[in-house]
């Protein structure tokens, strides 16, 4: 029982990160129909940026803030220089562009940062808390709490602010949104910026637990994508649930089956969802018209 609970805590922790990545995917996908492969690299920028800025002497909150801002700027640049010029390209071409962007960001990170693993000190100490026979790191609580705050904040923004409603309108029908006077380009940029921020926050929160490196982006992107697909592409609630599920499945798989194939869980999930329930658990937006 204790072991089970332990796995649940681990699974929810890493699942919370996948949920945030998936949420970022969903936001961009809803606004622009683009599958943004560079989503995972925002996580990396948040983590690596904070590490290097604290090493340079800045206090953690300041470093974290600047790292988030940096991620947002990269997100905006991605939209402005890679996505916008390619308007009208096929979905596959757009994926390739974001893959290229991801590789580019990774390549630059390699130069600006370095190729080592890095960590951050836990925010409130690393003494494990005992709960129901299992232990949980305080940092895990930070991760899950942080994710909750982000999700709640995003929900409040989308449902209860005018700008948020404009984002929803653009997601529902871009042409109609344009016709009622919404500046769609600004909304798209906003979507990219907010996604980047969400990713960066996730990265900062999780680095004390999982470490960070210039190339962690790819796996986060793939798993976040698996989570978004599992929950239903384009469905924010699905993204969160999907993320938690993938995290749990992965951790339980590693715990009870095989730890070497831990990463395979997400890929197998992708294949199963695509082949058997392409609309995901909560029914995403319509699948490609045949």
């Amino acid at each position: 029982m204790a072991e089970f609970l332990q796995l649940v805590f681990s699974g929810l922790t890493v699942g919370a990160v996948y949920a945030l990545v998936a949420l970022g995917f969903t936001l961009i996908y809803n606004a622009s129909d683009v599958i943004n492969f560079a989503q995972g690299d925002f996580v990396m920028i948040g983590g690596m940026g904070t590490v290097f800025l604290t090493a340079a002497g800045l206090a953690l909150p300041v470093a974290a803030f600047i790292a988030i801002v940096a991620a947002v700027m990269v997100g905006l640049a991605l939209h402005r220089f890679a996505i916008q010029p390619a308007r009208g390209a096929s979905p596959v071409a757009l994926i390739m562009i974001t893959i290229g962007a991801s590789i580019f960001i990774r390549g630059v990170a390699q130069i600006v940062f370095d190729k080592q693993f890095h960590s951050l000190p836990a925010f409130s100490g690393s003494d494990p808390i005992h709960l129901g026979g299992a232990t949980i790191l305080p940092q895990s609580l930070w991760v899950m709490g942080g994710a909750l705050v982000v999700v709640a904040g995003l929900y409040a923004f989308l449902e209860h602010t005018l700008l948020g409603k404009a984002v929803l309108a653009t997601a529902a029908n871009r042409l109609a949104a344009r016709l009622v006077g919404i500046n769609v380009t600004v909304i798209l940029a906003l979507a990219f910026g907010v996604s980047a921020a969400i990713g960066a926050v996730a990265g900062i929160l999780v680095t004390p637990i999982t470490l960070t490196r210039f190339d962690v982006g790819t796996l986060f992107a793939l798993k976040g994508f698996a989570a978004a697909m599992l929950g239903g592409m384009g469905n924010p609630l699905g993204a969160v649930v999907g993320g938690l599920l993938i995290g749990l499945l992965e951790t339980f798989g590693a715990g009870y089956l095989s730890s070497t194939y831990k990463d395979a869980v997400a890929f197998v999930a992708i294949l199963l969802v695509l082949l058997f329930m392409p609309r995901g658990l909560f029914g995403g937006r319509s699948v490609e018209r045949v």
Binding site: G100, S102, I103, G107, I111, L222, Y261
Partner: protein, 315 residues
């Protein structure tokens, strides 16, 4: 006359053969021959991918998985099963084809980015298997590969490998060019443009897509086997996500659906790291930039753009 030449399959093949024959005469050292051999090998893999992506219009972001199958086949055959290397190569290619057939049937029902992601997932699972089954594959450090022997003759030395890989590419190019100008080729190109209409004239769209997928897999497996034998070593990197993306980049940069495009694209991406040895750390950034620039501004790729430009000037 020139227009006919630009369109002629035989001319394309002869041009390629001529380039292959002349290069050793101007290559300054064995190193250049080795790089060229790598170009021919990756061009072969890219050619398989261009048949799938360029002719049939299906996307695969996991193609390196098949490359890995061929490579590990050639390593495992002699090392664990006591089979001669050449037979291992053929069997590995056949296995790749079989796996492509089995996996392709369900996966190719998907379209657009769903297909892209599914192939990506498939490729990653293969790479993970190669990385994890250490007892068989040597794990992350890979395994040594026995020298390739053809009818008793051990292939060693840069020049010999140059001719072997050039020959393999020439055969692959010949097959691909034949396919392009045949009923099957027309059917593939048709389903690329409109699946509904292709079905409407009686094309068995599912079967044709599958055949392109299998052909692409076999090409990649042969290339992988040659690569492993050439290097004497194989690691899971050869079947990684990055390798799959590089193959797609070759096809996009060189030109989708063009035999010469696969060669040009392969040359681009094989020579790039060599050219950047001084700036090795910039390699990834440059690759990423290249992909973005080509996909945004030159989505047709180098060779078709040049050919079209030439045709317009001459008409």
């Amino acid at each position: 006359m020139l227009v006919a030449l630009l369109r002629s399959r035989l001319a394309a093949l002869l041009l390629l053969a001529a380039i292959m024959a002349l290069f050793p005469l101007i290559a300054p050292s064995a190193f250049y021959l080795r790089v060229a051999a790598l170009v021919w090998i990756f061009a072969l893999a890219a050619l398989g991918l261009t048949i799938l992506m360029g002719y049939a219009g299906q996307v695969s972001l996991g193609h390196a998985g098949f490359l890995g199958l061929g490579a590990y086949g050639v390593a495992i055959g002699p090392a664990h099963l006591g089979l001669p290397p050449l037979l291992s190569l053929v069997l590995a290619a056949a296995l790749a084809g079989l796996i492509a057939y089995l996996v392709g049937r369900p996966i190719l029902r998907l379209k657009g980015y769903y297909l892209a992601i599914a192939t990506l997932g498939f490729g990653m699972i293969l790479a993970l298997v190669f990385n994890s089954e250490s007892a068989v594959t040597g794990g992350p450090d890979g395994m040594a590969v026995a020298r390739m022997t053809v009818l008793g003759w051990r292939i060693t030395g840069a020049l010999n490998w140059y001719w072997v890989s050039a020959g393999a590419l020439l055969v692959g190019a010949w097959l691909a060019l034949n396919l392009q100008a045949s009923p099957s080729g027309r059917a593939l190109r048709a389903l690329h443009d409109s699946e509904v209409a292709a079905a409407g004239v009686g094309v068995n769209v599912a079967a044709k897509k599958l055949s392109a997928f299998v052909i692409g897999a076999v090409y990649a497996a042969f290339a992988g086997g040659l690569l492993a034998s050439l290097n004497g070593l194989i690691t899971p990197e050869a079947s990684s996500f990055m390798q799959s993306i590089e193959l797609v980049a070759m096809v996009i940069i060189g030109g989708l659906g063009s035999v010469f495009g696969a060669v040009v694209g392969a040359a681009f991406l094989v020579v790039l790291p060599q050219a950047l040895t001084a700036f090795q750390e910039y390699e990834q950034a440059v690759l990423g930039l290249l992909i973005m620039v080509f996909m945004i501004f030159l989505p047709d790729g180098i060779v078709p753009t040049i050919r079209r430009w030439l045709l317009e000037r001459l008409s």
